[in-house]
Symmetry: C2
Subunit: 212 residues, 2 copies
C-alpha cells in the first residue's frame, strides 16, 4: 500500500528524530538497516519513506541544521550594518554549535564525524551559506568595504579566515580557544584590512632571502 504524502512526511520526520536519538544513545552513526529495524515499519513502508541511505541522511541533516538555517535567515533579514551583520552571520551559528558541544561533547563529535563522512549530502547547506555570504559581501562593498575584490574572491578569503568558527569539527579540537570576542576581532580585521587596493606587502614573493 502506498503511503499518502502527509503520512510519508510525518514518518520521515519521526524516523529522522529517532535516528538522532539513537546516535546519541549509541554514540555511532546509524545504518539504514538499523534505522529500519528501530522504525517499527515494514521494509516496504520504510523504503517508501527513505529509498536509500542518502534520503535518510538528508532527513536527519535537515533536523540537525534547522537552527543554523533559521539563524542565517534571521541575520539576513536584519537591518544591522555590514560589519555587525557579518559577525552575527557567523556568530549565531557558532553559538548553536558551541552550546551543543558543551551540552554533550560525545554526541556532537559523532554528528561531526557523520557530517564529514557524508559531506556531499550537506553540500546544499554549505552552498546556501555561501550564497548568503555573497549577499553580505555585496552589501559591504556597497558601503565601501572589501574594495576591489571579486565577490567570489572575497567569499573564499573570508570563508578561510573564519573557518574555525563555521566548521563544527574545529570546536572538537579547539574548544575554549574559540570565543565570540576573538571572532569579533577577526571580523573587524577583515573589514579593516581586506581589500584589493592596499596591502600588497606579502604578494609575489617567490624566493626567500636568508640572513648572512
Amino acid at each position: 500500500m502506498a503511503l499518502n504524502e502527509q503520512t510519508r512526511r510525518e514518518e520521515r520526520r519521526r524516523i529522522a528524530h529517532l535516528v538522532l536519538d539513537l546516535v546519541k544513545a549509541r554514540g555511532t552513526e546509524i545504518s539504514y538497516n538499523a534505522a529500519l529495524a528501530e522504525s517499527g515499519l515494514a521494509r516496504s513502508r520504510f523504503e517508501q519513506v527513505f529509498p536509500d541511505y542518502d534520503a535518510l541522511f538528508e532527513a536527519v541533516a535537515e533536523i540537525w541544521l534547522a537552527p543554523h538555517l533559521a539563524a542565517m535567515e534571521e541575520v539576513l533579514a536584519s537591518d544591522l550594518p555590514p560589519v555587525r551583520k557579518m559577525y552575527e552571520f557567523v556568530r549565531s551559528r557558532f553559538a548553536i554549535s558551541r552550546d551543543r558541544f558543551a551540552a554533550d561533547p560525545e554526541y556532537f563529535t559523532t554528528i561531526c564525524e557523520m557530517g564529514a563522512a557524508n559531506f556531499e549530502r550537506v553540500r546544499s547547506y554549505v552552498d546556501l551559506a555561501d550564497h548568503y555570504m555573497c549577499e553580505l559581501i555585496a552589501d559591504a562593498q556597497a558601503d565601501g568595504y572589501l574594495a576591489g575584490l571579486e565577490i567570489d574572491e572575497a567569499l573564499s578569503l573570508i570563508n578561510q579566515m573564519v573557518a574555525m568558527y563555521t566548521t563544527p569539527d574545529a570546536l572538537v579540537q579547539l574548544g575554549d580557544k574559540l570565543t565570540e570576542a576573538k571572532l569579533a576581532r577577526i571580523i573587524d580585521t577583515i573589514f579593516i584590512g581586506l581589500s584589493a587596493e592596499s596591502g600588497e606587502g606579502a604578494r609575489g614573493v617567490g624566493t626567500l632571502r636568508l640572513a648572512q
Copy 2:
C-alpha cells in the same frame, strides 16, 4: 644483548622510514606489531629501539615533519621584514604539504589521519611552531604592527585566521581553493587590520536587532 647507542639510533631511523614506506604501500596506519614483524628484528631488540607505540610514532613523525621544521628555522633565520616573514613562515610549510598532497593524495590523507589520531604525540611540533610565531609577533609589534595586543592573544587570532594553511587536513578538503596568493592576502589583511586600537565595530554585540 643491549644495542649500542649508535646502532639504536640507526635502527630507529631505518624502521621509521620503513614504516612510512609501509603506510604508503598499504594505505593504513602500521601497528607496533606489524612494524616489529617487518623490521626483521627479534622482539627483544625491537623493544630496545621502541619501548612502545608512542616511541615508534614519534620517530615516524620526526621524519615526516623534518622538512617543516627546517623550513620554519630557515624563515626564522632570514632577514625578511615582518609581513613577508610571517607570510613565508606559513607559506613554506603549506607548500611542502601541498606538494606532498599533489604527489600522492592517498598517502598524504593517511598520514593526516595518523596525525589526527595521535595528536598529543605531535604537540611538541605545534608548540614549537607557536613559539616561533610568538617571536614573529614580537618582531612585528616592534615595528608597530598588531598594536596593543597581548602576544598570546595575537598568536591565537593569527593561528585561527591562517589555520586552513597550517592544518594539513584542510588540503584534503579544500585542495585547489588554498593558494599562496590567497594566503598572501590573508597575511596582508592581518597586518593591516589586526590591532587592539581600532575596529571595535563588531564587539560587544549581545542581541540582534531585526528589521521590522
